[in-house]
Assembly symmetry: C2
Homo-oligomer: 393 residues x 2
């Protein structure tokens, strides 16, 4: 074979469902000299990373660390550790990632039942109550920020109902963490996981996760071994804990990237960071509204960082996304599953949640939609977004 050239990736504006734009500090950290996974320096970085992740998850949980794989492995780590064959597991499904939880829990040998809401809607306690009561699940799984629909699931009431039914709660915060409030201890979430590549603006490859003491207790008292050796928390605890027992070779440079990414979020301040995501979301929403584009998720439950919007009638999905990528370097996401060809998913995640990105996207989209024959008032979307920014100053 002839060898490929050294790679030289194009510079993109990453406004899809993740990965998001990466802060230059983080890319720089990724390329720092590799040290060994038991090097005193690396152990210090692990300690700092754990401590920063606790602040980010708003938790005191000792068992807070980063799974050495992407966000999807975070989901798997949550379920394989908590669930044993024959356990009853209840999943709330209103999008792709709820459905994935069903698949993952089933592969753990669980008896799985679901409650469902249409895509784009969220669950109330009343939706869960009957099955909680009849099925008496050991574990309930729910997604806080459904990346496939842009719906924002209120967790506190759900957590309360789940605990009153003596079940444990696993929350998917892949898209939520770092972009909106996530309060593991206050809400009483038993296990929460996320990914490095959404609002943390680190490249994909790590999955922050936290287990509360009750969850750890359940894991340490399992009847059977965790089916995944790689994700077994009882073993990972000895590497991330003070004993530092070798388990697997940690992905050193990915950890560098995540360390810097989380540090940047905390340096900005969580509240400031969440407010920035909200402001950018409002500006984008105003701009899109001026072009007649509406949101797919339920009113009052729209995520700031994942804007799932309805593709205007008569507009070709792929032509527009291709135009954005090729002419402006902007990536936005297409729809998944039930939303395929019907929605675009516009990410405002982490470093991508800034005015420059929103204004550029609106300008580019206006150009492409006009070419597709959509009737638009020229410049109206930019004007609308600018109004939000000026009001927010």
């Amino acid at each position: 074979m002839s060898l490929p050239e050294r790679l030289q990736p194009p510079v993109r504006v990453l406004m899809g469902p993740g990965p998001s734009d990466i802060h230059p500090n983080v890319l720089e950290a990724m390329g720092k000299p590799t040290v060994g996974h038991l090097d005193p320096y690396y152990l210090e970085i692990m300690d700092q990373l754990q401590q920063m992740l606790r602040t980010l998850f708003q938790t005191q949980n000792q068992m807070t660390f980063a799974v050495s794989a992407t966000g999807s492995a975070g989901m798997e780590a949550a379920f394989v550790n908590l669930v044993e064959p024959g356990d009853r597991v209840m999943i709330c499904v209103n999008g792709v990632f709820g459905s994935r939880m069903v698949d993952v829990a089933t592969r753990c040998g669980a008896e799985v039942k679901t409650v469902e809401r249409p895509w784009g809607e969220v669950f109330s306690v009343e939706d869960l109550a009957p099955l909680l009561d009849q099925f008496q699940p050991k574990v309930v799984g729910i997604v806080q920020a459904e990346t496939s629909t842009g719906a924002n699931q209120p967790i506190p009431e759900i957590a309360n109902a789940v605990h009153q039914a003596n079940a444990m709660l696993i929350v998917d915060a892949v898209t939520a963490l770092g972009g909106m409030p996530v309060k593991v201890d206050e809400w009483g979430v038993d296990v929460m996981y996320s990914g490095s590549q959404k609002c943390l603006s680190c490249p994909p490859g790590l999955a922050p996760i936290t287990f509360n003491p009750k969850a750890v207790d359940v894991i340490l008292n399992r009847r059977s071994k965790v089916q995944s050796w790689y994700l077994d928390v009882s073993m990972l605890a000895s590497y991330w804990g003070s004993e530092r027992v070798y388990h697997h070779t940690a992905p050193i440079n990915m950890s560098y990237g995540l360390h810097e990414a989380v540090r940047l979020v905390l340096a900005e301040g969580l509240d400031v960071c969440f407010a920035r995501h909200q402001l950018q979301h409002q500006a984008l929403k105003a701009g899109l509204a001026a072009m007649g584009i509406s949101f797919a998720a339920q009113d009052g439950h729209q995520l700031p960082m994942l804007n799932a919007v309805t593709i205007p009638h008569g507009v070709d999905d792929v032509t527009v996304r291709k135009g954005l990528l090729e002419r402006f370097g902007i990536e936005i996401g297409g729809g998944l599953g039930a939303f395929k060809g019907k929605v675009w998913r516009i990410g405002l995640m982490g470093y991508a949640a800034r005015s420059n990105n929103v204004l550029l996207l609106l300008a580019g989209l206006e150009q492409l939609l006009a070419e597709q024959g959509v009737s638009l008032e020229p410049g109206a979307s930019i004007a609308a977004a600018n109004q939000v920014y000026s009001a927010g100053r």
Copy 2:
């Protein structure tokens, strides 16, 4: 909490059991701009990476890719896909990684039996024959290059015996790949996996793996679902194949690093690269012999890239390793399991396998051993290594 500073890792000389020294090109690639996991540019990089991995594994196997996690997850991917509950699995154990295979296969619900050899020794066909015959396993697992002992297991005869018994062979090439011949097709290996952080000299985080058509056929005809959603090859095939069906968000920048790392190995040429590892091993061995240090692995079966050597009598393991790290920045590995406190593991992997490293290590070790009261002829180890280099010119 007070925030940590931006990280500034020390520059190490990585001569342990992995991670190894990373080529500057690879670190540079890790920090290149992130693109989306479905970006046309990234899909091209994936294609190139797969093609280069096939050359590296010496295979035509279509199902050749990189698992989105470290080498240990490569092991798990091999077993969870091939093995179903109740299957008979036979593992060859002569070190830590054979033992780990037993654990992983057991967690798949397999009935597991082992053949064992003392640490540092290798298996002959005669060792396997009785159990192959009586147990009739579906799958046999063996480690080519045992990272815990430095023993080099000849695979071709073993593969032949396994196939004559109608079993399938999984080979761990975590430490072997890129440092010594690994011929998947010629040897008839059914599944082989590796890690990015040994002789490929990329940071840890990815696990190259290859499944031959027979293995893929077994996977597609399973009675039960693969227990790991994340590692399910039947789903991963659709992402790495021409359909590009979204599965998980690939670790983009890790893939950049591996792409460049494999490109460098192929650009050097496999035979030249393997000869370089041999030469460095011979030079190190001569230098150590001049200091009275011998190898832990069986004569004639010593790995070039992982030199497990016996700690001289009366020398303190930790003092020496700490001295190497603190005074010279050199990391070497301690012993694992049965070898703890008894051996050092000196890696000559990938970019770390060069004269500068060998000479520096010998010089540093001589200084530290002399301080511990070992009787040495000053400079003899450097002279012995230099003789090997000069003869090799």
